[in-house]
């Protein structure tokens, strides 16, 4: 990529802007990603190993806990900390890849609708977007799960295929406004080909807002994934998910609070960290989005 390409500039802008929350967020995300990648070499115990003699050991700071199992063990004696580290893998994979799918679909359809703004293609697409947004995302995903076997790939594809409309709406709006600007109008009257217009003028202007929304999209995909795993419809055991761990711990909440508490914390921290990064991107790239859409009169 050339040094002066709009995308390179975008990332330079991000680098040159510091915000404490953005910094905390990106450091946290980096740590979570590293933990997930190197999980097999890091975990203190085998996260899958069942040991009936080690059941329900509390975290080390609670009476009866030991530093061998820092965050305690679950109902079948597996080390919570090790499972937490492994559980991040599924969340991150689903978050990242589902957003890639929905982002690409949303971006393409948004460009199409925006570029053909006002034509029947645009109208039909926007009706579809409205219809899908009228259904709770979780519900759509649940229905799709009936059709396909639950599992990692299904989850990625299904979340990806159901959450594109928000990108389409965003990109379409951006394209419509960019199209009105003089330089684009001028290029058009000068007879520039459509693909050139999209690539050279429209796409670079859409990129900023898109990156911001996509980042937040990763966070919501992780939340959706964990909900499904919690309901037993996501990634299936023995694969480890935070949602699944929470579901295990639910029944032991009265006696062993730590089983359900730590995975919830893990999800919250991850989502929060990604949100911080997203907000940071937004502040740098697209101050207009700051108000979150309210008051647009």
């Amino acid at each position: 990529m050339s040094k002066n390409s709009p995308i390179t500039k975008t990332f330079t802008k991000i680098r040159n802007f510091t915000s404490p929350l953005g910094l905390i967020g990106s450091i946290t995300v980096t740590i979570i990603v590293l933990l997930a990648i190197f999980a097999p070499w890091i975990v203190p115990h085998d996260p899958f190993a069942i040991d009936a003699t080690k059941r329900l050991i509390p975290p080390f700071w609670v009476d009866g806990g030991s530093t061998t199992y820092l965050l305690g063990t679950d109902h079948v004696g597996r080390d919570i900390l090790s499972r937490l580290i492994y559980g991040g893998r599924v969340s991150l994979l689903v978050g990242l890849f589902s957003v890639i799918i929905s982002g690409v679909i949303g971006l393409l359809l948004g460009l199409l609708a925006g570029y053909l703004g006002g034509t029947w293609v645009d109208h039909v697409l926007m009706r579809v977007v409205d219809a899908i947004l009228a259904i709770p995302t979780l519900l759509l995903v649940l229905v799709a799960i009936v059709v396909f076997e639950p599992g990692l790939i299904t989850l990625i594809v299904v979340i990806g295929l159901t959450s594109w409309p928000q990108y389409t709406r965003l990109v379409r709006g951006e394209v419509l406004s960019v199209k009105q600007r003089e330089f684009v109008q001028l290029a058009y009257t000068l007879g520039a080909p459509h693909t050139y217009l999209i690539r050279r003028h429209i796409l670079p202007n859409v990129v900023s807002s898109f990156i911001v929304v996509a980042t937040i999209g990763i966070a919501s995909a992780i939340l959706t994934e964990s909900s499904l795993s919690f309901l037993g419809l996501g990634v299936q055991p023995p694969d480890i998910t935070w949602g699944g761990m929470l579901n295990d711990g639910r029944n032991y909440i009265a006696t062993s609070w730590w089983i359900a508490t730590f995975p919830g914390l893990a999800i919250t921290i991850t989502v929060l960290a990604i949100t911080f990064v997203g907000d940071w991107f937004r502040d740098v790239l697209d101050p207009r989005l700051k108000q979150g859409g309210e008051g647009n009169e």
Binding site: R127, A134, V146, A219, I253, T268
Partner: protein
Amino acid sequence: MAFIKRSFLQIVPTLFILTLIVFGLVYVAGDPVVSMLPENATQEDRAVLEEALGLNEPFYVQYVNYIKDLVTGNFGQSLQYQEPALDLVMERFPATLVLSLMALGVAIVISIPLGIFAALKRNTVLDFLISGVSIVGKAMPNYWIGIMLILFFAVIIPIFPVSGAESPIHFVLPAVTLGVALAAEITRLIRGSVLEVIEQDFVQTARSKGQKETIVILRHVFLNSLIPAVTIIGLQFPQLIGGAIVVETVFSWPGVGRLLLSSIETGDMAVVQAIVFIIALITIVANLLTDAVYRILDPRIKYK
């Protein structure tokens, strides 16, 4: 009149696309025939049944038949319960709706004062605290909030019952659970909205009249900041119902959520379709209501 016409134009295509998606999924899911027949059924038995159910017709014919059924309120028979799917859903739906509306109530009661307060005390410790809590609130999975509330208010300090929906006290934890996440969203919104309005000249006009600050805030600032807020609250409704489905399982709430999950597990497509359809319908109605409220609130729209 124009409003009704516009709403109609909005609903019909949405419903069309919705039915297409739902029906398409079922079509892709394959025939439910397999699960209706005994294990030892022959090919001929299958063919007869498929013929009887119209499953050998092309996609569009099946779709048209499906729409005809829907219009007459026939969502098909539940395999699990051997009852009309719609009856099953309507039986449980009120509980879900009540839960969602109560959560909305909780969210509004929490978020409006907090949002206004955060805006008025902008950039103070209080503002950062409120904004911080609402960001964290949004990041927490709602079922986890539910479990934590159970831990604190049913296990450690046993005030509230854990499950069921028999008496008003049973409503507290589920409604709060579902309301908290929404409250986080609305607080942020109200804050932003109030901040925008408070800078406007007419607020200074009210002060120059000698109006009390509390009335300036409530009558002039808050009233105007409601307009954008209402729209966004309306848009939150699908996610609210979606959240209700998960929260219901945490509290064994006798709503549509648990029915949906058991139907998914047993592949009871008729019930799943009915649920999706009803929820989408409710969402559309909620959007129309939002639109209507918006119109009532904002005099600038009526006369355009």
